[in-house]
């Protein structure tokens, strides 16, 4: 049984307090949906969970161990999908995914796993196409296929539905459900509709600096 949690998290970006005193807690199979208006810190919170951004106060921990103390171990257990798709224009779709998967899992069945991941997002027919010929939605599908190709217990998805068509969003919902059924956790930030069964909702507007009164002064 794993636990992913954050306590008293405060995020400061460009001398502005984005959110403060934020707690979250996720267990196996759990899902957390981040909502809130633009600039409320959804992406910042996801980057903070991933370890890309250090917390100004508070800590993120996995099974009680603070994640920033062992970033490689934390990196090994999470998949992060950000705003950028990390698709190399001169590598084929399969090569792009194969590279990222090979950093996590080895073995002779790796090409099969990649093919299965491509199939899962309906881009198997594109596997030999160089990245530069892909549309925005196709690039996003490649990025999502990347997280299917190598398993990791924690998915951090920042607006994963951007540029996706309805059918692919449905497929993504299915993959998230399967991931959770296998004991995985997922944190998603979203503006659009993404249906997740029994998901916790976290409204970041409630933690923004304006609505939280703090007696200590955190401004730099």
């Amino acid at each position: 049984m794993s636990e992913f949690s954050g306590k008293d998290l405060t995020c400061i970006r460009g001398q502005r307090r984005v959110f403060a005193n934020l707690d979250f807690n996720l267990h196996d199979g759990g899902a957390l949906v981040l909502i809130g208006p633009n600039g409320s810190g959804k992406s910042s919170l996801l980057r903070l969970m991933a370890g890309l951004l250090p917390a100004a106060a508070g800590a993120v921990s996995w099974d009680g161990a603070v994640t920033s103390e062992d970033p490689e171990a934390h990196g090994g257990r999470l998949h992060y999908v950000g705003h950028l798709d990390a698709v190399k224009p001169v590598l084929s779709v399969a090569e792009n995914i194969l590279f990222w998967a090979s950093l996590r899992v080895g073995g002779p069945d790796l090409p099969d796993r990649v093919a299965a991941a491509l199939e899962a997002f309906g881009i198997l027919h594109l596997s030999d196409i160089p990245g530069r010929f892909l549309s925005a939605g196709q690039k996003r599908r490649v990025n999502l296929a990347r997280i299917i190709a190598a398993p990791a217990p924690l998915w951090l998805l920042d607006e994963p539905t951007t540029a996706l068509d309805r059918a692919t969003i449905d497929a993504l919902e299915g993959h998230i459900a399967a991931h959770r059924a296998a004991g995985g956790m997922v944190v998603v930030s979203t503006h659009s509709e993404l249906h997740l069964e029994a998901a916790q909702k976290l409204d970041l507007a409630a933690y923004s600096a304006g609505s939280v009164t703090l007696d200590m002064d955190l401004a730099i």
């Binding site: 490689e72 171990a73 950028l84 990390a86 090979s102 950093l103 996590r104 080895g106």
Partner: protein, 221 residues
């Protein structure tokens, strides 16, 4: 270790596919060296005297050409964030990328150097030492340059800033690299110079990836 090989293979493949980097570095190297006889005149003795220095300076400048892009493309397309978040230690990933840079730009320079030495009428006795000194020196250049390339991420006019940051750090390598070749041509031993350059390389090998990785972590925040 597996991560090191995978990243190295990927970067070599990228260099080969979009690959004008190696060709451009070598072409720049050749052209920069060829300019000198036009500038200082075709007097064979003068050219022979300055040959080692000219080749080394041109090698430094041309190894810098593609440095700016060492992390820039990964930074822009989001790959750098994913590399930071992979189970691979970032320092190892950086070392792999720097190794790929050296293989694609440093190594071709070493191969081209003897041809240019002929062009500059350098004494034949200095050829083996020129190759040896470049082979010891250019990896240090790539390593030091990697730190600069990581520091300039996200800044505008990064290329100029990069040269201001790292060219001063190249000076020790330049001094001992040229001095090794000149010593051999003058009939002396060059062991001391080679040992010092090997020392630079041994110091740069752990320190530069460490510093560059710290700069990269800062840049993805």
């Amino acid at each position: 270790m597996i991560g090191f090989v995978q990243i190295l293979r990927r970067d070599l493949r990228l260099a080969q596919r979009q690959g004008m980097d190696s060709v451009m570095a070598v072409m720049f190297f050749v052209i920069a060296v060829v300019l000198f006889p036009f500038g200082v005149g075709p007097e064979p003795n003068i050219l022979a005297r300055i040959a080692a220095g000219v080749i080394w300076v041109a090698a430094l400048l041309s190894s810098m050409l593609s440095l700016e892009r060492l992390f820039q493309t990964d930074y822009e397309d989001g790959s750098l964030e994913l590399l930071t978040l992979s189970p691979i230690t970032l320092e190892v990933a950086v070392l792999a990328k720097i190794t790929a840079h050296w293989l694609t730009t440093g190594l071709p320079l070493i191969i081209a150097a003897p041809l240019l030495a002929v062009l500059l009428n350098m004494s034949v006795s200095g050829f083996p030492m020129l190759i040896l000194a470049l082979a010891l020196g250019t990896p240090s250049l790539s390593l030091i340059g990697g730190v600069g390339a990581a520091l300039i991420l996200g800044s505008r006019r990064g290329g100029v800033l990069l040269s201001l940051l790292i060219l001063p750090l190249y000076i020790p390598v330049l001094i001992f690299g040229v001095s090794a070749v000149d010593a051999v041509i003058g009939g002396f031993e060059a062991k001391a110079q080679l040992l010092i350059m090997a020392g630079f390389l041994l110091a740069a090998l752990p320190l530069c990836p460490w510093a560059a990785a710290a700069a990269l972590r800062q840049s993805v925040e």
